[in-house]
Amino acid sequence: MSVLVILVPPLVAAALVCVPFKRQWAAGVTVASSAIVLILTARIALRASTGDLAPDDGSVGALRWIAVDGLSALIVLLVAFVSTTAAIFSIGYMSRLRLRPWRLRLYYVNYNLFVFSMLAIPLLAEPTLVWIAVELTTLCSALLVSFENTREALEAAWKYVVLSLMGAGLALFGFLVLYAAVQASGWSGGYTWSALIQAAPRMPPALLQAAFLAILIGLGTKAGLVPMHTWLPDAHSQAPSPVCALLSGIETSTILYVILRLFPVMQASRNSHAETWALVLGLVSVGTAAFLLLQVRDYKRMFAFSTVEHMGIVLASVGFGAAAAGSGTMMQIVSHAVTKSFCFFAAGAVLMSEGTREIAGVRGLIGRSPAAGAALVIGGLGITGAPPLAVFLSELSILRAGLAQRLYLATALLALFIVIAFFGIMLHINRMVFGARETASRPLGGPERSEPAPDARFAIPFSCKLGLVVAAVPVLTLGLYQPQALQDLLQRAAAAL
């Protein structure tokens, strides 16, 4: 069975949802297709975890530019999982908006195409084709970000498109230079990720360095690394919550995956400073995001900044050296994807229940909507790395790797920033969930916005609760128990790094 089959259900679903049928038809098709993809990817991930899939094996990919190894199997699995839970959550979330049928269909068409493009990134092995898939993720999700068509959503979508495509332009240059480097090395065995590693020792270092920097900065823009992150909080806060879960939980990781693919290449060529770049950029991202987290006023923006922070942690952990931190890095990607998507579902539930995005507008949530309040607390604890949960485990192993590499200063800084981010997020969430309503919170005489309009409040539908529960399972369990297959998969993914 070719792995290309994975790409079929989203495309079919994108076509099927166009059929004007019953109201829930589009949602049903999307959930079904995501579930099918999840099952298919689970099988591939299982095979990958047992080493059944050799990298670049002709039997897996019918074509040369398709290849699956542990790392890409892991990413595909995450995309499939998050897209399934987000599809379930979308049913209820979208019905709240009372859209006209064609708008709902438009949403699902874009949703499926977006999932398709994200699935394509790890499956493709030809870097320039991967670049095209990256472009497609931007373009398919642009209309999802602007979906609510408010002034702010449009602004966010525009910034998202312009900055991501700007980065993509630079990355394209990087990939073309990389191709030139392959040619210059005299390698004739095609242009794929694994070919790059084999050709790397004979590549001219200048070309490789230039290509790496262009791709790191270009794709780093889309992954939300700090000097280039400005669009991310906007886009990840203005989109509808299920889309935010996709964008924040998995799209950024998928882009980061492409960057991670370059590190083995850089290691294979002897003199490279890739790790230093990664460590510096990662630490800057974590630090900036941690301090920005303290002063946010919008809880979706808060989670968006937390995404910047986590991307920084992943990159910094790569900077610690793949050999030491490899499995920690992989675990971090996994735990971030499941936890962050859960956080955005929780944020969506709060938005449904309270009708405002402002932190100051939400107080005493646990009394008003226990489900949303509990979800927010779990999400907040999960994402900040509270002890028994998944993120804690991965962050701990990354810090340990940092210490083992004797990078004491960097490790200490990373730990400090993580603690700051913990307090930042938990302070806000604590106020939102347990805090008492302040009465004199508007000294400037602005309009009274803390009390939401009555019709803005909305009971959380069943499908959203179901989505929350499904998404909560890995958040709560992965810290305590990881199936053997997952552990194997993580090991193999780390080996590819």
């Binding site: 095209i132 472009e135 332009g169 230079v177 200048a206 230039a210």
Partner: protein
């Protein structure tokens, strides 16, 4: 004789790339949105010409394909797509108030072009002599100037053109240093440019309908500011 022809082709290619750089400057300096689009079309034609000249010079057939794809997609389909998707208002706009005055913007663009040569120098030195030429530095210059356009422009069409100039720049250096790229990839990249135009066109149309203007760059509500000032701006 062959030498003369090769030298002529080299010179012509250098000339075409020089004019490419000039159009990039023009895109920075041009006020009228329609003029920016025309300059972009000229630039794409120059890109196609450079691909064809390099193809002739180095007997690389795949470059003729690239030239053809560029000839069809950018000068022809992009304006058509724009007409289909976005409001006609974008053509009629002029940028009266820019972030920078035009001479200042031009000077910065010049500095970027000179910077691009220094960026491109190690790349040019690392590839085989037959891949060298003016394409790499001028392509990098196009990349930088396109990015610069994105930061100083406010109007939708010049911003969109800035994105496409970046891609043109990457391509211009690409046809020189990685000219054996599979045709499928080239085709996909060209298609990608069209999707960019399509999606941005739809976005521009929505913005124009919702905000009443195509000055997309002036949308600046989303910041880490207090809710009060946000509210005040929305009312204004």
């Amino acid at each position: 004789m062959n030498d003369t022809i090769n030298q002529l082709l080299d010179n012509l290619n250098a000339l075409v790339t020089g004019l490419f750089l000039l159009t990039a400057f023009g895109i920075v300096a041009m006020r009228q949105a329609r003029g920016v689009l025309s300059l972009f079309i000229v630039q794409s034609l120059l890109l196609a010409a450079s691909a064809a000249l390099l193809g002739l010079r180095h007997h690389a057939e795949s470059l003729f394909g690239v030239a053809l794809v560029n000839l069809i997609s950018k000068p022809m389909i992009v304006p058509w797509l724009l007409r289909k998707t976005s409001p006609s208002e974008i053509y009629t706009r002029r940028e009266v108030s820019q972030v920078l005055s035009i001479p200042a913007a031009l000077l910065i663009a010049l500095a970027l072009a000179i910077l691009a040569y220094f960026f491109a120098l190690p790349i040019s030195n690392a590839v085989a002599p037959e891949f060298r030429g003016p394409n790499v530095p001028i392509g990098v210059a196009g990349l930088l100037i396109g990015a610069f356009t994105l930061t100083v422009r406010r109007e939708a069409l010049p911003l969109l053109v800035g994105l496409l100039v970046m891609e043109n720049g990457a391509f211009l250096s690409g046809i020189s240093i990685s000219r054996n790229l599979p045709f499928l990839v080239e085709l996909a990249i060209a298609t990608d440019g069209l999707i960019i135009v399509f999606i941005s066109g739809i976005l521009i149309r929505t913005v124009q309908r919702r905000v009443g203007s195509t000055a997309v760059g002036e949308l600046a509500n989303l910041k880490e500011v207090s809710a009060e000032s946000l509210e005040g701006r929305a009312i204004k």
